[in-house]
């Protein structure tokens, strides 16, 4: 947990963020943004910066609040609940943590303040067409060219590249994986926007045909893995928060929807579905938070918990959003109802950074190695 934020400050920023989203990220806001090419709300982005959300992970030296995974997870629960569209995960989590881990203070000084203030948006290219988000899925090669590097290859499923000012690219250098900075990302050729199933998520495919880039010192495979871990925790928080909101909304509906002369939530078939979902939602919340706390504390079981959070939260959100449509009946099958927006997000979140079965296996492997000791 953060050395910089007190318990009260932490609660306060979460509450402020929740209020902000309740005001500027309603369902109709989300639907409005879906129809825009940008896909996110620049004003809201600015407000999030002012509130310290964008610089949450950034050290105070560079204008951030220097908070940790616990605070991040907590805010992501709110972001998930509101179905917030935009590059928070890309820029505020992956970008911030990668730049922060860079050992070149010049880079940090140049980039981090912009990320924290919202003036600069970062996008991170982590995987190729295989979409595995594993080191072996990286399909960009980096070749030295004087002091700089030349990138060749292809990255896909790049989140919010469309909105990015700078692009960070995981690429294979002669000495192993590294992270490379492409500035002025908006003028980069070879970026294709991909049509997505979840309209609140923007993805791009980027083809590099000899693109000049700067290698960020200090960012090896393990630094990348740390940044990914933060992103996994953030995503788990988003899923837990979104799942809870879906359940709340569904419970509200079944409490009031009358069929056969009484509210449908009084029928066991529906009531028991809700009870089972609550268990999933509470479990998702518990593990997302505990994974965050273990990460911040550097606990020995933090990898295990992050993997557990990754699949448990993904499954919980998919199950909750899927059941929600069923529990709403016909109205849940309409485009104008909110349920399918969450359902699409749930399906998308379940694929980002690798599927549930991958993390299930990774979780078991972590438990095995602890068991063997």
């Amino acid at each position: 947990m953060s050395e910089y934020l007190s318990e009260e400050e932490r609660r306060a920023i979460r509450e402020s963020f929740a209020r902000l989203l309740a005001k500027h990220c309603t369902e109709s806001d989300v639907r409005r943004l879906i129809a825009t090419p940008e896909g996110y709300d620049r004003d809201l982005w600015r407000r999030m910066a002012d509130m310290g959300v964008l610089g949450l992970l950034v050290d105070p030296t560079y204008g951030g609040s220097g908070a940790g995974a616990v605070e991040l997870e907590s805010l992501m629960e709110e972001a998930g609940a509101a179905l917030l569209p935009g590059p928070l995960l890309s820029s505020g989590v992956l970008g911030s943590s990668l730049f922060s881990a860079c050992t070149d203070d010049g880079v940090r000084l140049r980039l981090l303040p912009g990320l924290a203030s919202g003036d600069t948006i970062a996008s991170v290219a982590l995987t190729g067409d295989s979409g595995t988000w594993r080191p072996d899925g990286v399909s960009v090669d980096a070749a030295p060219k004087g002091d700089a590097w030349l990138l060749t290859g292809c990255a896909s499923f790049v989140t919010w590249a469309c909105a990015a000012d700078v692009l960070l690219v995981a690429a294979r250098a002669p000495d192993g994986l590294g992270v490379f900075l492409v500035e002025d990302a908006q003028s980069l050729a070879g970026v294709t926007a991909l049509q997505t199933h979840d309209p609140t998520l923007h993805l791009s495919r980027v083809v590099f045909k000899g693109v000049d880039a700067v290698r960020l010192p200090g960012l090896d495979e393990s630094a990348l893995e740390q940044a990914m871990n933060l992103a996994r925790i953030a995503l788990a928080g988003e899923q837990a928060g979104a799942a809870r909101r879906v359940l709340d909304g569904t419970v509200e509906y079944i409490r009031t929807r009358v069929q056969f002369g009484r509210p449908v939530g009084g029928f066991q078939a529906i009531k028991h579905m809700a009870a089972d979902l609550l268990l999933e939602v509470e479990s998702a919340t518990s593990v997302a938070r505990q994974a965050a706390s273990a990460f911040d504390e550097g606990d020995a079981d933090s990898n295990e918990l992050i993997s557990l959070a990754a699949f448990a939260c993904a499954d919980a959100f998919v199950q909750t959003a899927s059941s929600a449509i069923q529990m709403h009946g016909g109205i849940g099958f309409t485009w104008d109802h909110w349920a399918h927006l969450y359902w699409r997000r749930a399906r998308a979140d379940a694929q980002l950074f690798g599927g549930a079965d991958f993390y299930r296996d990774r979780y078991l492997a972590a438990k095995e190695s602890r068991n063997a000791k």
């Binding site: 979409g131 997505t196 993805l203 069929q259 056969f260 002369g261 009946g329 099958f333 998308a348 599927g355």
Partner: protein, 402 residues
């Protein structure tokens, strides 16, 4: 059931159908042999082959089920359409059973010739699972019925000639006892049709607003206030059809009508047929589908082709699981690619469409939960769900009082 094709043993009916088809149908070109001046389906109707089980008065030949199947076999053998309407045309069968002669003369032949279509005006925003709670009203003004109300989940509303309407004709009786069933002429003022955008992206269904829509006395089906009985006949058909997997058609989409997923080929292409975890899931999903097919086949064998059976009532429930699970495993096969959608990403678009469209079977035509009630109560004989407003005047029900 015989399908003996040797000429020496051929029965006279089969010979007659075969002769008629030889004369009228070009099997190799799969089209009528000549231009007969009328549409092919009307030709079939006029010859009495469209609904051979029906009485001659209404265009049938009064054949037994076994004989009718002979006719269907011969039509199928040469790929000629138009036969079997007495088995599969829900509206026409409802009309035959419950309609007035006036209405039958007006609509029956055109229906089975598929010259006109119908739509279903059953569900309402406040009457989904609880269909008997409809609040659309039909009042007799001395001359005809006047309809006022708001219907939902109607497909084909714009093109339909008639709407099959469930409306309340007596508010002082209990909910099931004050409903009547009408064939509403759809081409008239007062009917406002608004498409519903579904989560699949399709707009297969509509909302239909009825404002002082008029219906002649002869368009009442069955007795006044006995509309619930008429409805049940139609519903049973709908569920049966969904159980056979017709619900998985991509109605309203640009895709083929029959696009059962070939999961094994997909898995092979995705290089997943050697992944033992995936194999187990795949085997289970294939099993669900095959078991349902075996159930349907057994039901047909045990009970004859057009009777309903306990197995049939389970089939829609089974199909719901099949479609959801198939979509799930297909999503797994695609992995990250399922994040995509739209024309440039055909496989993703297909999977995501299927995942959404599976709810059409698990919600439409009676939710899975309602299906389980039906199976529990009607097949297993378990006590009925308590229905707070079943026996009180409908105007006092919570559906009205809120």
């Amino acid at each position: 059931m015989q399908s003996n094709d040797s000429d020496d043993a051929i029965d006279p009916l089969r010979a007659e159908v075969r002769g008629w088809l030889d004369e009228h149908w070009d099997a190799s070109a799969r089209k009528p042999a000549h231009d007969f001046g009328i549409g092919w389906r009307r030709l079939v109707v006029d010859a009495g082959w469209a609904a051979p089980r029906w009485p001659e008065q209404w265009g049938g030949r009064g054949l037994s089920d076994d004989d009718a199947l002979v006719v269907e076999e011969e039509f199928n053998r040469v790929g000629a359409p138009g036969c079997g309407q007495d088995r599969s045309h829900v509206s026409a069968n409802t009309l035959l059973t419950f309609g007035t002669d006036t209405l039958k003369h007006e609509a029956l032949f055109r229906l089975i010739a598929e010259e006109i279509t119908t739509c279903l005006l059953y569900s309402e925003p406040g009457a989904g699972s609880d269909l008997a709670a409809v609040r659309t009203r039909a009042d007799w003004n001395g001359e005809h019925w006047v309809i006022k109300g708001h219907k939902i989940w109607t497909s084909g509303a714009r093109t339909a000639e008639y709407g099959l309407l469930l409306a309340r004709t007596d508010w002082d009786r209990p909910k099931h006892k004050g409903l009547s069933f009408f064939f509403v002429p759809m081409k008239q003022p007062g009917i406002d049709i608004k498409p519903i955008h579904q989560i699949t992206g399709d707009s297969h269904f509509n909302e239909v607003f009825l404002d002082d829509v008029v219906v002649p006395a002869s368009n009442l089906l069955g007795e006044l206030n006995e509309g619930w009985k008429v409805l049940l006949v139609g519903l049973a058909y709908e569920r049966l059809i969904m159980g056979e997997g017709i619900g998985e058609r991509k109605q309203g989409s640009s895709k083929d009508d029959h696009n059962r997923a070939d999961l094994i080929s997909m898995a092979r292409d995705a290089g997943l047929l050697k992944d033992s975890v995936f194999r187990r899931d795949l085997a289970q999903v294939l099993a669900y589908r095959q078991l349902n097919e075996l159930n349907v086949a057994r039901a047909k064998m045990e009970l004859g082709r057009d009777k309903s059976s306990p197995l049939m009532s389970m089939s829609k429930l089974a199909m719901s699981r099949i479609l959801h699970e198939e979509a799930r495993i297909m999503t797994k096969m695609l992995g990250a690619a399922s994040l995509l959608d739209g024309e440039p990403h055909e496989a993703a678009a297909d999977v995501n469409y299927r995942a959404a469209n599976a709810y059409m079977t698990s919600i439409g035509g009676g939710t899975d939960q309602i299906q389980r009630n039906i199976i529990g109560e009607q097949v297993l004989g378990l006590p009925r769900e308590q229905e707070a407003d079943r026996h009180i005047p409908f105007r006092d029900s919570r559906s009205v009082t809120g």
